[in-house]
């Protein structure tokens, strides 16, 4: 199976991973999908590889939805303190990220707590406002996920079609062989 996957590599650009993503996890997921196929053809393997990529895109966009929300929340917090000389949006984003993941350092926690106090907001209020502000982009992320699902449906139907045709051809081959045998048997019988 691996040889077949490798044989396709020069023809098709392989799905690329993002920095920090596990290559072995990607391969394990691909092998899991390939194991569902009986005697996969190169075309089937190419289609399953695309299907696996769609699954990864769904994962990425799902993570992005949460990131969009965090970014929007950080933006609300950055607007709170107009009086500070210089505020670093990235600093707020990373502090908020660790604050929401409950692994913030003492300084970051104090920084976010102070901003929340100044804004007179709780974390859930902030989340609700962030959701409202990022609604348009969250919808876009949902549409990207939906697109991947639709692509997967197309790929599944294509795989089924290739699989069905190969099974049909195999069955026809068997029937033809059977017919040939029968014809031979008829020929050898004395008239």
């Amino acid at each position: 199976m691996n040889d077949l996957v490798k044989s396709l590599a020069p023809f098709l650009s392989n799905p690329k991973l993002l920095p920090g993503e596990s290559e072995s996890e990607f391969q394990a997921s691909l092998e899991g999908l390939l194991s569902e196929l009986e005697n996969p053809s190169p075309l089937n393997i190419a289609l399953v590889t695309q299907l696996n990529e769609c699954l990864w895109w769904i994962k990425r966009h799902t993570v992005d939805k949460e990131l969009l929300l965090h970014e929007s929340m950080a933006r609300i917090l950055s607007k709170v303190d107009h009086h500070i000389e210089f505020y670093d949006n990235q600093k707020i984003s990373s502090a908020l990220e660790s604050f929401l993941a409950s692994n913030a350092s003492k300084n970051d926690k104090k920084f976010i707590d102070d901003l929340l106090k100044k804004a007179e907001l709780t974390v859930s209020d902030l989340r609700a406002r962030g959701f409202k502000d990022a609604a348009k982009h969250l919808k876009m992320a949902d549409e990207l996920i939906h697109r991947q699902y639709q692509t997967m449906r197309h790929l599944q139907r294509s795989i089924d079609s290739v699989d069905f045709k190969s099974r049909l051809i195999k069955r026809m081959d068997l029937e033809l062989a059977d017919l040939e045998n029968k014809t031979l048997t008829i020929n050898v019988k004395p008239s």
């Binding site: 044989s7 396709l8 020069p10 023809f11 098709l12 650009s13 799905p15 690329k16 993002l18 053809s41 190169p42 075309l43 190419a46 289609l47 695309q50 990529e53 895109w57 990425r60 992005d64 990131l67 969009l68 970014e71 950080a74 933006r75 107009h82 500070i84 000389e85 210089f86 505020y87 670093d88 949006n89 990235q90 984003s93 990022a134 982009h137 876009m140 992320a141 549409e143 990207l144 697109r147 639709q150 692509t151 197309h154 790929l155 139907r157 294509s158 079609s161 290739v162 045709k165 190969s166 051809i169």
Partner: protein, 173 residues
């Protein structure tokens, strides 16, 4: 249903729509085709990859015509997905300086600078407005995750067309 008069009016108004007018609009639209390059027609058939893929499909039992259609569609789909990846990984960079610029501070600095010069208050205000506008534009585009979501969203229709074409080529086999 639109009346005849309304249709004619729409057509006449459409004559006035001759693309972007401002230099900013022209700059943006001039980059339309080079952002992802998916509007450019690619001749897959002259590539070695196409020939190899086609012969692999023929060996698998496809007719040469079907194999050609599938190979082209598959290469086209990969091209779209590669552009999708590029859009995702390389969104337009956030101008941190612009984003984080403290406008009251800039105002104060401009006031200091204008003390010894002949710059009028209204001129200073218009400079400040330029800074404010560029900051507003920068922030409106959002951070990196916002930008890559918008960029990828623009490629949805290309992905839809590519997968439909591929699926059609395989199922009509």
């Amino acid at each position: 249903m639109l009346s005849r008069l309304k249709t004619l009016t729409n057509r006449l108004n459409a004559q006035k729509s001759t693309g972007p007018n401002t230099s900013h609009g022209k700059r943006i639209s001039s980059r339309n085709s080079i952002k992802h390059g998916l509007n450019v027609k690619v001749d897959f058939e002259s590539s070695d990859t196409y020939t190899s893929l086609k012969s692999l499909l023929v060996k698998q039992g496809c007719s040469p015509f079907e194999a050609a259609d599938i190979a082209t569609s598959l290469l086209n789909y990969r091209r779209v997905m590669d552009a999708y990846y590029e859009s995702y990984t390389q969104p337009e960079e956030v101008d941190e300086f612009n984003w984080n610029m403290h406008l009251p501070g800039v105002h104060r600095a401009l006031e200091e600078m204008s003390k010894d010069s002949e710059v009028t208050a209204s001129e200073m205000l218009s400079v400040l407005r330029v800074f404010a506008r560029s900051q507003r534009d920068e922030r409106r585009r959002g951070g990196p995750v916002f930008r890559r979501t918008v960029d990828c969203h623009k490629l949805i229709r290309y992905q839809r067309n590519a997968i439909s074409r591929l699926s059609k080529a395989i199922r009509s086999e």
